[in-house]
């Protein structure tokens, strides 16, 4: 694979607010590389530190520790007006006393670009976001979606090296959001500029990103492609935050050798599944595994399945049916399990609440969760 160049290097960045007893650690030693021409998403719940990281990259906050490099240059303490990084703010922050065209040309004027060049670039930007006819309108005459596009055009006009987007789709209604998601991808490809996108919506992150970084409570938990994040979550939080997951405690497991990267999990009726794991994974307590509801199937014959239980709830969702199952438990503790089966397969119509069923799934769909990190 070609070695892509790194646009932003975040090195050991920590951010502390306040002092002494009331000190709050917003970011805890975050390190990551964001590549050129990449659509990169920072994903996490509210207050997790993703916006803090974005603001540190933009220059509005200074890291308490660590550094930010832009194409190799240390910009950690550079003021925002000296960084070749532009932001699309959550509230758009469009200048209300200027027209659309004047907003878009603002950055170029500040950079003292010649008038002709500014005119050309502004026209280019207007057509890029399909706002040509509205160029002389005032900001408060625009709809939310139009304001969003002006904010984008304004931030892209000075051709920054990196574009930051702070939950910019949060204020839009559902349909508009979907449209804008496609629009943003298109813009990123058209301009070739690295987009760093912040959101708490995991579905949005999965749809739009080349790579995602999942953050929680100031810590960077996992960085990877949408596929990797979804299918191979490395951590309890990542598994539960992104998509629906079932968590199971497997009390009986073994390894051939302690250093093996494979673990053998024991299920009902002496069925054993071989699953990859971390080299130094300990066996002294039960193993947590995660498996997605859509990767699980039900069979009538409870006795020959990996797990067995009773259907507690059946919900019909048009394209699929969701089952809530209470698994048999030797320890007496109830474990609920969710199964999602596509209605197209016709299998799903056969099961009703109260019925006893068997649960089956494949070894490659199991993800071992190691929370000891």
């Amino acid at each position: 694979m070609k070695q892509d160049s790194i646009a932003i290097k975040v090195e050991g960045v920590s951010k502390v607010y306040g002092k002494g007893e009331s000190a709050f650690l917003a970011l805890n030693n975050a390190t990551l590389n964001i590549l050129d021409n990449e659509f990169f998403t920072l994903l996490g719940p509210s207050g997790c530190g993703k916006t803090t990281l974005l603001r540190i990259i933009a220059g509005f906050e200074n890291p308490t520790q660590g550094s930010i490099l832009l194409h190799g240059e240390d910009i950690s303490h550079l003021p925002p007006n000296l960084r070749s990084v532009n932001t699309v703010f959550q509230s758009y922050a469009l200048f209300p006393h200027m027209t659309v065209a004047e907003n878009i040309s603002f950055g170029l004027e500040m950079l003292n670009k010649p008038k002709q060049e500014i005119k050309k670039t502004v026209s280019k930007m207007l057509s890029l976001v399909h706002m040509e006819e509205l160029k002389d309108r005032h900001i408060d005459e625009l709809s939310g979606g139009q304001q969003q596009r002006v904010a984008l055009a304004r931030a892209l006009a000075p051709e920054p090296k990196v574009l930051l987007l702070d939950e910019s789709l949060a204020a839009l209604d559902y349909k508009l959001r979907k449209e804008m998601q496609i629009e943003l991808k298109r813009l990123q490809h058209a301009t070739g500029i690295t987009f760093i996108f912040v959101t708490h919506d995991q579905e949005e992150a999965l749809t739009m990103s080349d790579r995602i970084a999942v953050i929680n409570e100031g810590k960077l938990l996992q960085v990877g492609t949408p596929h990797e994040i979804y299918n191979k979550p490395q951590d309890h939080f990542v598994a539960s935050f992104v998509g629906d997951t079932n968590f199971l405690e497997i009390s009986s497991a073994s390894k051939s050798n302690n250093n093996d990267e494979v673990i053998f999990l024991n299920f009902n009726h002496d069925q054993i599944l071989k699953v990859p794991c971390k080299k130094d994974m300990a066996l002294n307590k039960s193993i947590s595994i995660a498996i997605r509801p859509e990767k699980v199937s039900l069979i009538k014959d409870a006795d020959s399945a990996l797990l067995a239980g009773e259907i507690v709830d059946v919900s019909f969702f048009g394209t699929d049916t969701h089952y809530s199952i209470e698994l048999d438990s030797s320890s007496g503790k109830a474990q609920s399990f969710h199964v999602r089966m596509q209605n197209a397969s016709n299998q799903s119509k056969q099961y009703v609440a109260g019925e006893r069923v068997g649960v089956i799934f494949n070894a490659e769909d199991i993800q071992v969760i190691d929370d000891s990190r």
């Binding site: 607010y17 306040g18 220059g59 509005f60 906050e61 200074n62 003021p79």
Partner: protein
């Protein structure tokens, strides 16, 4: 978040609000607002009749002012006048505010605002002169020479000053509270007494205090409307300032200054307790 107000860059964040030179100019300005008062206060304790050469500490001027019968007379007159003006103007302003706030547009709205705010929009000297002319002709016609002219004039120009805080408070009040009261069978008067008035009270109080101070401080209109010989404290002081000034004026000024501080302090405390 801590903000270092003088440094343009602190280590924590980029100071978005900082504008070069503004903090310094602001501090100089605030200092200059108070600096002239310092010698004034200082020399009120001067043990001599001079205002600029220090001779020693003395309470004599405060005593002199306290015992000065003329000062007593004008002070009482000022206080009485301010009290009346403040009460009347606040009552009228409250009624007017209730009538003009939170209502859909009505005919003559612009005109009514113009009339209510006229004392602020028209220079005092113009009003003073107009009142002089008007009252002179009434005096000539009726021979009435009493204090009613002054009370009327003060009440009038205090109305907009009571009106503004009351209106501001009223606008921020939730109409649904009164609707709820009406829904619970309260008559308009009882709604006012039990719901509107208590909520409006801080605004009314602020308006009354502002009107009191405005009336107490008035010089120009009072100077033109007053009956000769019957001064208020400000017109008395104006007369004294045009003549030989002794530190007695400093003493009176210092007392008034302290009173202002107390009144403003009280207003701030009341509004912060909301």
């Amino acid at each position: 978040m801590h903000i270092n107000f003088l440094k343009k860059r602190n280590r924590d964040r980029f100071n978005v609000e900082y504008v070069p030179s503004f903090p310094v100019l602001a501090l100089i300005c605030i200092l200059c607002l108070y600096a002239p008062m310092v010698p004034l206060l200082f020399y009120s304790f001067n043990d001599s009749t001079l205002l600029t050469v220090w001779h020693g500490f003395s309470w004599q001027w405060y005593e002199a002012a306290w015992n000065n019968e003329r000062v007593q007379e004008v002070t009482l007159r000022s206080l009485g006048l301010a009290l009346q003006a403040s009460v009347y103007s606040t009552i009228l302003a409250t009624m007017a505010a209730l009538a003009t706030t939170r209502v859909p547009k009505y005919r003559g709205q612009g005109l009514i605002y113009a009339v209510i705010n006229q004392p602020i929009m028209v220079p005092e000297i113009v009003t003073a002169v107009a009142l002089l002319i008007f009252f002179a002709s009434i005096k000539a016609a009726t021979g009435y020479q009493g204090t009613a002219y002054l009370v009327l004039a003060h009440t009038a120009f205090c109305i907009p000053f009571s009106y503004l805080p009351i209106r501001a408070r009223l606008e921020n009040m939730n109409l649904s509270l009164e609707n709820a009261a009406a829904d619970l069978y309260a008559s308009p008067w009882r709604t006012f007494k039990r719901v509107t008035f208590p909520l409006l009270f801080p605004g009314i109080l602020a308006g009354a205090m502002l009107a009191f101070v405005i009336s107490l401080d008035d010089v120009v209109i009072t100077e033109f409307v007053k009956t000769p010989g019957k001064d208020t404290l400000p017109t008395y002081m104006l007369g004294e300032l045009r003549r030989e000034v002794t530190p007695e004026i400093n003493a009176i000024s210092s007392v008034l200054f302290v009173v202002s501080i107390l009144l403003v302090g009280m207003t701030f405390l009341i509004s912060s307790k909301k």
